[in-house]
């Protein structure tokens, strides 16, 4: 199945360095959202950011994506400012609600970035189809989002983020709105896709078990103003299968993350 023709989504995974970043939400009274946050993600690493609601984890992702600019501090992706990567279209992003164009088919949605990049030719179309097959939606290429389930919409969104082979992939609670069963299934799928493509992946979640199951490392944030509390390396072997959740080691990591969240680590 994973023969040579399978496209690699990441050209070359890049590292991410976040260095003492502060961010204020703009407004009449600026609100400190993130304070003195520093962490890094290695090339091809899968890192989850976890924290209580409103701790600024989504904001952190938007800062890395250059959708927001830090008030102070530096962010570098592969040694370059995020803006340069965004401008050269090397950042992939998956939103919590799939954020698909309702008037376009799955295929049309996956083609969108390629059209914007003027790479919508034969090669682009083949690539989009390949990505749809990679996320398991080959038979649904002509369906519009309204005809797809929540899980399927997220698959389209992931395919859309991968078509243009970004160096880093950022996911903002992509499975937060799904039911538990679909969510577990999507986690499994995500690992399968990531293991064939190995982009640097930053995954925001508020589910401890999801974070432990997916990640090489879990970055734990404090309540607002968010800062990095702890970074926990998950030493579970890959490929990870659902059964891993019943192993004692899994529980230990979950407990460790929970303690860090509670602040008595």
């Amino acid at each position: 199945m994973h023969d040579e023709h399978l496209p690699s989504a990441s050209q070359q995974p890049a590292s991410i360095d976040v260095h003492s970043v502060n961010y204020y939400y703009p407004g009449k009274v600026p609100l400190l959202a993130i304070t003195n946050a520093s962490f890094s993600v290695g090339p091809g690493e899968f890192v989850s950011i976890i924290g209580p609601s409103g701790c600024g984890k989504s904001t952190m992702l938007r800062l890395i994506a250059d959708l927001l600019r830090p008030t102070s501090g530096q962010i570098a992706i592969g040694g370059q400012p995020p803006e340069r990567l965004r401008r050269s279209r090397q950042i992939g992003f998956v939103f919590q609600d799939a954020a698909l164009m309702p008037w376009r088919s799955s295929f049309g949605n996956v083609m969108l970035p390629l059209q914007v990049m003027r790479r919508a030719g034969k090669e682009g179309k083949a690539k989009a189809d390949e990505m749809l097959r990679l996320v398991g939606l080959g038979d649904f290429r002509n369906k519009r989002p309204a005809e797809l389930s929540g899980g399927m919409r997220q698959r389209v969104s992931i395919a859309r983020a991968l078509t243009y082979s970004p160096k880093v992939l950022l996911m903002d609670e992509p499975f937060g709105a799904l039911d538990q069963i679909t969510r577990d299934e999507m986690n499994q799928e995500l690992l399968r896709i990531w293991e064939t493509n190995r982009a640097t992946l930053v995954f925001v979640t508020h589910s401890i078990s999801e974070a432990v199951f997916l990640s090489d490392r879990v970055v734990v944030m404090s309540p607002r103003p968010g800062t990095i509390r702890q970074s926990i390396t998950i030493g579970l072997s890959r490929p990870r299968l659902p059964a891993i959740k019943h192993e004692p080691g899994f529980f230990e990591y979950e407990t460790q993350v929970l303690r860090a969240l509670e602040g008595d680590a």
């Binding site: 279209r89 954020a99 990049m117 309204a146």
Partner: protein, 306 residues
């Protein structure tokens, strides 16, 4: 019959299927979201029968009530007399209806086009919106019956003369077009301005993420997002343009179009003819409204049932 009743009850008893539910068993080949299908064939039929019934009853009342109240048919002609007049006066009504339809449709097209262009400019620059939107509102608040004569004077001063049906690309008469354009412009300007701004913020962020230009965002995100809003406006302006055309023709008093004909029939105390010509415009206007609805169904299939 029992079956029909059962199927009519179904939508009420069954929880409306959410898209999530719909897709876990996603039927390939099904081209509508399932909640559309939740409307059973029985209630679809009702949606045709009930309005026809209401119109039928209204026409019957029109036909008989004025007579019961002691009014003579030359004061309020019966509906059947109006229908008869429609046929007997068709030689007069037909050509004038053609003029009115042309005035209405050209006005509709030009008014909407100008409004879409205006809304696009608004969506690209807050400064332009702040500068011109109040002016657009101001123009909207001036009654059409005041604006109409202004158009007539304007066209007269520039030597085009109000009493000749003036050709604009060989169609319609210019002062009337001024009225129809003005009357269709505003609803579309407002709807499209909202529509072009009502974009999914995450989709907008995604477009920024892939470094899409302002033009690309307009073309690939804003315009498609606004099409349902455009059709909302079409529903309004598709009938308004006929009102505008008739009022414009009536004010011009150059005896052309249905508006002109209304003047003539009034002078001739031919009330059957008057109502027959009004009927002709109403039916044309309804037909155009229907075409707009069908076009919406065909062109905006992603729009959810409201």
């Amino acid at each position: 019959m029992a079956q029909v009743e059962e199927s009519m009850e179904r939508p009420a008893n069954e929880p409306v299927a959410t898209p999530e539910v719909a897709v876990s068993e996603a039927v390939p080949g099904r081209s509508w979201p399932s909640f559309r299908l939740a409307v059973s064939p029985g209630s679809q039929a009702l949606r045709v029968i009930l309005p026809l019934l209401a119109i039928g009853i209204f026409l019957l009342l029109w036909n008989y009530v004025p007579q019961w109240m002691g009014l003579h048919s030359y004061e309020v002609p019966t509906f059947s007399q109006d229908i008869n007049a429609l046929f007997s006066e068709w030689g007069t009504i037909g050509p004038n209806l053609e003029i009115t339809i042309t005035d209405a449709l050209v006005g509709f097209a030009v008014g909407n086009l100008l409004a879409v262009i205006g809304a696009i400019l608004f969506s690209q620059s807050r400064l332009i919106e702040w500068t011109f939107f109040p002016l657009a509102i101001l123009m909207q608040t001036i009654p059409i019956i005041v604006i109409g004569p202004v158009f007539v004077i304007f066209f007269t001063v520039f030597g085009w003369g109000p009493y000749d049906p003036l050709p604009i690309i060989g169609l319609g008469s210019k002062p009337v077009l001024g009225v129809t354009i003005l009357i269709t412009f505003f609803p579309t300007l407002v709807n499209m301005t909202v529509g072009l701004r009502a974009i999914d913020p995450n989709l907008y962020d995604f477009m920024r993420l892939i470094n899409a230009s302002r033009w690309t965002i307009l073309w690939r995100l804003r315009l498609p997002s606004s099409i349902p809003y455009l059709f909302s406006s079409f529903r309004i302006t598709s009938t308004l343009c006929f009102v505008g055309a008739v009022v414009g023709e009536w004010m011009l008093a150059n005896n052309t179009g249905i508006g002109g004909l209304i003047n003539l029939f009034l002078l001739a105390i031919n009330k059957q003819g008057l109502w027959a010509s009004v009927l002709a415009v109403s039916v044309s206007s309804m037909a155009f409204f229907g075409i707009v609805l069908i076009a919406e169904r065909v062109l905006v299939p992603w729009r959810e049932e409201r």
